[in-house]
Symmetry: C2
Subunit: 341 residues, 2 copies
């Protein structure tokens, strides 16, 4: 069925070497010959055998995406990733690259699965998600000299790899600004307790904005919890028992926000009425919650495309002019004002 380079050569009465050169756009082939080759390729609908090419070139022509769900994130993974993957895959496909996905076990954090990809050279590069502040996987990949890019910043590995992140710090600031502008001065912050970098970034922004407004940071209004609904549910009451109760709360995670709002409801505190609520990363959950939650929304599909591009630019085989190499980028979030604040 599938025609090979030999079929083309036989059909045109030329050698396979010439066919290959013509197809690959090399200079040392006559213009007319190239034309004939391309035409024949189209007619016999030739497409190169990936295995043959990979074997010869020592590259697999595929990029691995590794998703290691956070511990506690059991049933439905974060909806975050489907649109991100869509963008990522679309851009990779444009460069004839396949996207391979590797799922980790939720929770455990040993990079065994990653090792398999690297040691057996199953992919040419890796895209990591759910990056931690100190991330074993990044250390491992750096040491192994294996190309990779990350969704989310980390403190590991230095500035040596492309990374794309959301501007959590700015979002934290903006959330505070917005609440202060509406008269709030007692503003709580709920974030995940894991070593997730965005939790730190968010808190930096939160603190910075408070200080800018001359509001003292009250440690009693900051709480860390498990990064799921249960975590939000458990930890939110803690900040509400502060003697001078907060009039607003910023959640650093949508799942925690839902659990938190549930807890608030049970305390007789109605989100959107008795307390203002803002969520840092928007999901459909926020939009259809009642009250609809004001939230900061990322543009996931473009982010996927962009990270693919950054990764490609860092690979010698795909790199354009040297100057175009992009190391890190931080994208703003868009505020979607709804009913909860």
């Amino acid at each position: 069925m599938a025609s090979s380079i030999h079929d083309l050569a036989r059909h045109l009465n030329i050698s396979i070497g010439t066919v290959s050169r013509a197809l690959n756009g090399r200079a040392d082939v006559n213009a007319e010959t190239r034309q004939r080759v391309l035409e024949a390729a189209r007619k016999l609908n030739y497409s190169p055998n990936q295995s043959g090419r990979s074997l010869r070139k020592g590259a697999t022509h595929s990029i691995a995406f590794m998703l290691q769900p956070h511990p506690g994130d059991q049933q439905y993974g974060e909806p975050f990733f489907i649109p991100f993957l869509t963008g990522l895959q679309a851009r990779l496909a444009e460069s004839e690259l396949d996207l391979m996905v590797v799922m980790g076990e939720p929770g455990q954090y040993q990079p065994e699965r990653l090792r398999r990809v690297v040691e057996t050279r199953r992919a040419d590069a890796v895209v990591l998600a759910n990056t931690r502040r100190e991330d074993d996987r990044i250390d491992y990949l750096s040491k192994a000299g294996f190309p990779f890019a990350t969704l989310g910043r980390s403190q590991s590995g230095g500035d040596t790899y492309p990374s794309l992140d959301i501007d959590f710090e700015r979002a934290g600031e903006e959330a505070v600004d917005r609440l202060v502008a509406r008269g709030h001065r007692r503003i709580a912050a709920i974030r995940p307790s894991l070593d997730l970098n965005f939790g730190y970034l968010f808190l930096d922004g939160y603190r910075k904005a408070l200080q800018r407004h001359g509001i003292e940071v009250d440690p009693g209004l900051i709480a860390d919890g498990f990064i799921n609904e249960t975590g939000g549910y458990q930890v939110t009451p803690r900040v509400m028992l502060s003697k001078d109760r907060p009039t607003a709360v910023i959640f650093n995670n949508d799942a925690m926000a839902l659990g938190g709002c549930k807890a608030l409801g049970e305390m007789g505190i109605r989100p959107g009425h008795d307390i203002a609520v803002i969520v840092i990363v928007d999901t459909p959950l926020c939009r259809y919650f009642s009250p609809a939650l004001t939230a900061f929304r990322p543009s996931l599909e473009p982010m996927g495309r962009r990270l693919a591009e950054m990764l490609l630019a860092s690979l010698p085989a795909f790199a354009g002019p040297e100057g175009t190499r992009i190391i890190r980028e931080v994208w703003p979030l868009e505020l979607v004002a709804r009913e909860s604040d």
Copy 2:
């Protein structure tokens, strides 16, 4: 870095043929030799080069998962798929297979991307999701003789491929049974208008149960809408304007349920108080909605594993004894009773 079969051969002073045979567990190799080979392989941490193997065997050792989002499902894809993919990938990995994901453009339904996978033999088989009642992709793959399996049933292609589906019919029945047992007799049904098979299956069950209870099926209580929140929002009021207003409503999709509940709220009809609501496929949205929605929950990760197994059993290279070939399976849903009914 990576050691090849030649390294092993050189290290052991035997031929590469013998090494390969030993590694592949063929009979014509001395037991002691095999032992030495395996040991050396471990010591030099050898792992076979996929490209070489693929080239020789004419198989890619990877399975493609194609996800074509429904039209209108833009921002966040269905959270459904992450846990499903986790199970799928885990099972495939056990058979040394890679999982490749191919995203379609949401909406348009031309199987071009699928064609690419098939014609360039980028994968050994395909797993389809979001199956339609009449599905071009299934027809295409059947005709092309390309192995595949589907998540969800279809009427296309006959009984020739493995498929795994959720028992929407039974869920429809059970939802009605539950509502009737609670005294409801005017029960509305909202389902997607697309040619999605589960919409038909659900309605079959709904009708069957009503008839079993001696309740006449009122076409005015059945409505089709776009498969997203907007669709639910637009279409739900229609059944509420029926002269004998329903006291319960079953949504065939979580997104539509959210939009529908929003519409109900705006009409002054409070879900869980003034009207009972049941959702057929549970998502986190249902759990944290207020009121929490009673819903039927699938076990996604096991389903992923299972479908992988069924697909493998249908592939000659992996098939066990002939009898174990599984064609279709339908899994029950588990009712999660919450506050909305």
